[in-house]
Symmetry: C2
């Protein structure tokens, strides 16, 4: 591990640590270290998926997941497998069996989930970047909570082979890093993008057509977070000279933002039940209390409603396709507020306000199959000091490389401002 004030032990981020050398020493990720969430296969090791019964009832992986193979071939060094919420089914990051990885940016607060250990390992400086999965926000929410960069790709563009299937219509493999530059280098490898091409594009310096500030999305955020986000947006507008316009998601797609959550939820739950229900029925796994509650909700879903929910999902998907033109970006808060204080959410998390608001925001990209980057540009005063909250750009389907190029420019500008 690299020099860091926080040790692996203190971070609680890892399920196990071991090193795998890159398969090519000379690649775009040479010299960088990474970790992967423990529902992504690493050859010879079990993917425990955050649940002891899963670990006991599955064999070790024979081969690496395809994404791990890509990173090793690009020169990166593997350092370990990170804690995940049980079966990826939480945005909180408090695993009943494996603990709560440290949020280095706000130690009293949860790291967020389900890629909790990946965000923690990055925020603690223990690896250069980490791989997570993002179905309903599991990379973006921990990135926001821990003050790091987080990328969810356009759905289907990064291989999920060797990754536990959860809700396949939404499942993605994403990246967390402390700089937009490292985030982009790792993401480009996973996207199979050629570095020369990406560099050409950088040099051409493609600019966004318009950055649409989604008013209704910012209304989900608390007043302190909104005020901080406005400062960051002012930089985009004045310092970078981007075209910034007011908009609203509800005008763009013809439904209130809350409706996105009500659409996302039954589709996601139906897919989770189809992916994991048979295993649960057969194994009667031991679950932590919040996870048990979550799977009871999934099980109780009236499946006769699934088809109608999918109809709505695809309607909003098509509306978003039409609404975003080439190089248009939607700007939203990643999460409504900084991370909740540890232990504050209780067992019945899904009935509370936190999930409803957070998922209304994350389901924009989920339903739209769109790429999103959460940027650690804002920090809010809280009782114990300050805590980060992410500002996000959502891109058009397939315009991942453009989005990543842009956030690098923003990161450089933010560094200049801080300097």
């Amino acid at each position: 591990m690299r020099d860091s004030a926080i040790t692996v032990q203190q971070s609680g981020a890892f399920i196990e640590t071991f090193e795998l050398r890159p398969t090519n020493v000379d690649g775009p990720l040479s010299g960088l270290t990474f970790a992967v969430k423990d529902l992504i296969d690493v050859a010879g090791h079990k993917s425990g998926c955050g649940n002891p019964t899963w670990r006991d009832t599955h064999p070790p992986a024979r081969s690496h997941a395809v994404c791990v193979e890509q990173l090793l071939a690009a020169g990166a060094t593997f350092r370990g497998k990170t804690v995940t919420d049980e079966l990826a089914f939480s945005l909180v990051g408090e695993n009943y069996f494996y603990g709560t990885p440290l949020n280095a940016a706000a130690p009293n607060r949860v790291p967020g989930g389900s890629s909790s250990g990946s965000a923690s390992a990055v925020s603690c400086g223990l690896v250069d970047f980490a791989i997570g999965t993002d179905t309903g926000g599991s990379v973006r929410v921990p990135a926001s909570n821990c003050g790091v960069w987080g990328y969810r790709p356009s759905h289907g563009l990064i291989s999920v082979a060797g990754v536990m299937p959860f809700a396949p219509t939404f499942d993605t493999v994403g990246v967390l890093a402390r700089s937009a530059e490292v985030l982009t280098r790792a993401a480009n490898v996973l996207l199979g993008a050629r570095l020369e091409e990406a560099r050409d594009r950088d040099n051409k310096n493609e600019r966004p057509a318009a950055i649409l500030i989604a008013r209704d999305a910012f209304e989900m955020a608390g007043p302190a977070a909104r005020a901080e986000h406005e400062k960051a947006i002012a930089v985009l507008r004045s310092r970078l000279g981007y075209t910034v316009r007011e908009a609203s998601v509800s005008d763009l797609i013809g439904c209130p933002l809350s409706e996105l959550y009500d659409t996302y939820r039954p589709v996601q739950w139906a897919e989770i039940e189809s992916s994991l229900g048979s295993w649960i029925e057969e194994q009667k796994p031991q679950f932590g209390p919040a996870t048990k509650k979550n799977f009871e909700l999934v099980r109780a879903l009236d499946r006769a409603l699934v088809a109608a929910a999918i109809g709505k999902r695809e309607k909003y998907y098509r509306a978003m396709r039409k609404a975003l033109g080439p190089r248009d970006l939607l700007c939203i808060p990643t999460t409504p507020d900084p991370a909740p204080v540890k232990g504050s959410l209780g067992v019945d998390q899904r009935s509370g306000d936190y999930y409803r608001k957070a998922l209304a925001l994350t389901s924009i990209a989920g339903i739209g199959r769109l790429p999103q980057v959460s940027m650690p540009l804002s920090s809010v005063a809280v009782e114990e000091g300050h805590a980060p909250v992410g500002l996000s750009l959502v891109g058009r389907f397939g315009e991942d490389e453009f989005l990543l190029g842009l956030v690098q420019e923003i990161d450089r500008e933010a560094d200049d401002l801080a300097a």
Copy 2:
């Protein structure tokens, strides 16, 4: 089952037959019957995936796959689970354990796989439509062989939850039917498309910008098939008045067509190994001889090459995105020739010419993540009489409904010509 000269028994298409009534009696699929490939979950039944060890080592499904739920909610009646090639890993349709489903259009010939039983059940008139999966051609090839309509969707637009993961970057759920009208009705339900909207579009009668006849793709086909396809294309040009242009895939994406196969194969194999390798290692399953050989090839793949293959795949994917404009369509033969004669391909199928040519054609949509419909418009003289061979249209990503509307128009015109 409906009136049919061929019985379920004679067809050999089914693993098991049982009826599930629709969950809504009044829907767009009311009155239609369907079957699903036996790697798609139906509650209370095992998904055997064409392999006896898989059947023995997996529990029954607790819930229907999401796609089954959608069809039942749309008014369709389920009639049974159909034979598949072992673990979906074949384009042939000769299952060592469960036999070769009857190709009603060419009884001496294989039905094609891996959705062999679904194509057979449709070609034998035992159900109105059937659901298959298509990773490398497993809906399109049997549709071509059996003389029925076959649809592979844009990747990621139809839910694969509750379906055996195989090579997730390419995996899709598709439809087979005897008419483009039934094909479209079932496909629209799975796409979550609203019937009113689809009807509006039909009335607007959107026309293709251009149909690009891919010269190099037709060079893969045998002379008799090419001659028949030319007649069908003449109808598109003269009777329907579409703009038809010569083109070549290699010009459009900057690589010879054979290179697509060489790119598709390592990526697919890497994903198969990541999806199924651990289970194979743990269970040491009993395989038929051709399947055993296939999985040996997968196992022998040098995984250090995977990252480079993905780089190429994504390069060609991006090139196809640019090459096809709105409502452009690519016209190619679905398969090079009519179905091979039963038992003619031997154990070492993948080293032969058949796979190389067939996969070069099917990997266009696979690599491009594009929707494709195989149309049963052509029939070629063979030793024993005539055998069908499919002509395909490949659409732009997400333009599935447009493509389906168009093939309905073509089907009506073909009927008029035949009348």
